[in-house]
Symmetry: C2
Subunit: 396 residues, 2 copies
């Protein structure tokens, strides 16, 4: 009895995947270097060498039975302690190892967090534009995703729309800052106001409303600024983190979930994650990876190329006449398309070997996403092509 | 709204975990070397050196952005092809890469398989004695686990009991051979008969009944014998495999699911696994681990110590007068306790610093499990203690 639910999901074509296929076919004809593929968020800068050295020395020096042995269900205690200490030092938090749950990157962290703090039928709110995978994440956890419309002026939060949707069935609010796809970085004032509303509504409805903070881009912030640490604004926060972007390790599937120690249920939630894992396949990360990242917690890959690319693209798009908010972080930029139908816009761009992603599935029709985690040389070569496309097709 | 389901699970104490805690406390007093801990199935032999060399050379030689980059949702194509080729060579199968889904070890493989071939409310049958984690695996996938009573004479299958329970609601049968905890290896004749019944009942009920084969101990078979390859007996088989035991890599969370190419829905099921992953947290394995194990697919750790330990323990237990079936594989032995209440028996054994696991949670009350993946020297030192325990407490 093949499960209908997953079979049906297969039939919904992913726009990003279809685009990647077209780009791949085109690359086979004209060469990969001639396709300006802005579709995929795969980091293009290398992991710091210190990580590679740490992994090699673990493999060479540690007794294999110990290095590769089972880690406890709740993670390797020394790694949890090191993660807590690093967060405390950087963000003035009070985490202990009992608040940290290492897991196979941010999708797994969100899968655990959603199952821990929702009951079947609960609602989860998120803000457009949002990462389209939130749909299956929430639905397959048994809850219902509701999307607050975007504030396209700044891509901060439209608080009026948010308050209108924050009813008694909402168990959790899922945010992503720095944001994929907009590149917005929620300010301290946005986070303060968000926390205030959540506190007020929790009291009004007589139950906790959890903040699930999806923050894999936490360190990728430009202009010398920083992302204010979300959890420091609101006690009932579960931070979902991954080293995929910060250390350029997406294939290694390593991250963690951290529950604010001020959350009354903090230790309970982490313990519950151990139980949730039993049902969803023990997606704990590789023990080698846990031990290696523990040695490079305060490092990041070199993000200067992303900032350089952001500057080049933003200036060019503005010059052409695109409506676009300057990204403050991530490696995405999110302009308004030059016609209402952004799917049609992105299809036309393909004729110029520009692979852009329409934002309908991000809850923001009419916009498109460019992932500029590619070489600067390629970005530079793409700019005259972008200009030509806008001129020839849209008279810009 | 903390999820009641997982909170309740926390309150059910795990017998194995409680025992491990007691053993740990005792080790702190008398030294770890003096506690005869037979409770945990953590491999005690090292990974083959070829694996370590492969991992180091990948880290040294491959471009980091490529080595650590995202792998496709359905796994790294070259790794899938190598796994297929290895299985075809060893077991005369016809797998292609499209039948293989790399995943973070066997718990994750079973989590995907169960979700792919059951609908909510379906039944899944397994055979006692069984790995107690099957309970949460099946329940949290939305199906219901039913346990066929054991054939304690051989720990093969009690076919009469099986047929009586194989009703129209059964969507899948979950087997584990070589078996944890009995050490039984299902024979070709057992598998032939099992396949015959499944074929007959599938026709009778008008729907496929899937065989989910949990086989992390596939290569740990003694006396120069081999485990007949389960999938070769029945088309609708999903093999769930892990390198945890075969390569002594449990902490690295790497394995795969392989669907028999003769299964009409084979490629569909693998594609569905990609969808299932989206909801349960993308538990794909580390890309470094995928690439490293692909170079050592036909190797195993040296299991001779397990066979030596099996011989020592089996001979000693028989000599003492235990009722015990000789294990043909794994690193477990499964004797009948010397009193009806095996929990009481194991508690009394603790006074002798013998850590044994009562089998109530394995669906086989009155028996106990010993995991002999420990050094032979320690097994040897434990034998006089076992003898003294049986003599002093039970007059054996």
């Amino acid at each position: 009895m093949i499960a209908k639910k997953y079979k049906d999901m297969l039939e919904e074509k992913s726009v990003i995947r279809s685009l990647a296929e077209v780009a791949g076919q085109r690359a086979a004809v004209i060469g990969r270097e001639n396709v300006f593929d802005y579709s995929l968020g795969n980091p293009s800068v290398p992991v710091p060498e210190a990580f590679t050295r740490a992994a090699i020395s673990l493999l060479k020096e540690k007794r294999p039975e110990e290095l590769h042995g089972y880690s406890p269900t709740l993670g390797i205690p020394s790694v949890k302690a090191q993660i807590a200490e690093s967060l405390n030092g950087r963000f003035g938090m009070q985490y202990g190892p009992e608040h940290i749950f290492p897991v196979s990157a941010v999708a797994a962290a969100i899968a655990h967090a959603l199952r821990a703090v929702t009951q079947p039928g609960d609602e989860v709110l998120t803000f457009a534009p949002y990462f389209p995978e939130y749909g299956p994440y929430v639905e397959l956890a048994g809850a219902e995703l509701k999307v607050v419309p975007p504030d396209t002026g700044s891509f901060q939060i439209d608080f009026e729309a948010f308050e209108a949707m924050l009813g008694p069935k909402v168990a959790a609010v899922l945010i992503n800052t720095p944001n994929n796809p907009s590149g917005a970085v929620y300010s301290a004032s946005t986070l303060t106001r968000l926390a205030g509303i959540l506190t007020e509504k929790s009291a009004l409805y007589g139950h906790d409303i959890f903040l699930i903070s999806d923050e894999p881009y936490r360190e990728i912030v430009f202009d010398g600024k920083e992302q204010p640490y979300v959890s420091s604004f609101y006690a009932n926060t579960i931070s979902c983190y991954s080293f995929s972007k910060s250390l350029s390790l997406p294939g290694e599937r390593i991250g963690y979930l951290a529950v604010n120690p001020a959350c009354p249920d903090a230790a309970l939630i982490v313990n519950m994650c151990g139980q949730i894992s039993r049902g969803i396949g023990h997606n704990c990360p590789s023990s080698l990876m846990q031990l290696a990242v523990a040695q490079t917690l305060d490092l990041t890959a070199d993000f200067s190329v992303y900032e350089k690319n952001r500057n080049l693209l933003y200036d060019c798009l503005k010059e052409i006449g695109f409506e676009v908010v300057k990204p403050q972080g991530t490696f995405y930029i999110f302009p308004k398309a030059l016609e209402e139908d952004s799917v049609a816009f992105c299809k036309k761009a393909l004729d110029y070997d520009l692979v852009l992603v329409p934002a309908d599935s991000f809850g923001c029709p009419g916009y498109f996403r460019m992932a500029y985690c590619i070489g600067t040389e390629k970005v530079e070569r793409s700019l005259p092509v972008l200009r030509r496309f806008a001129r020839e097709v849209y008279g810009k």
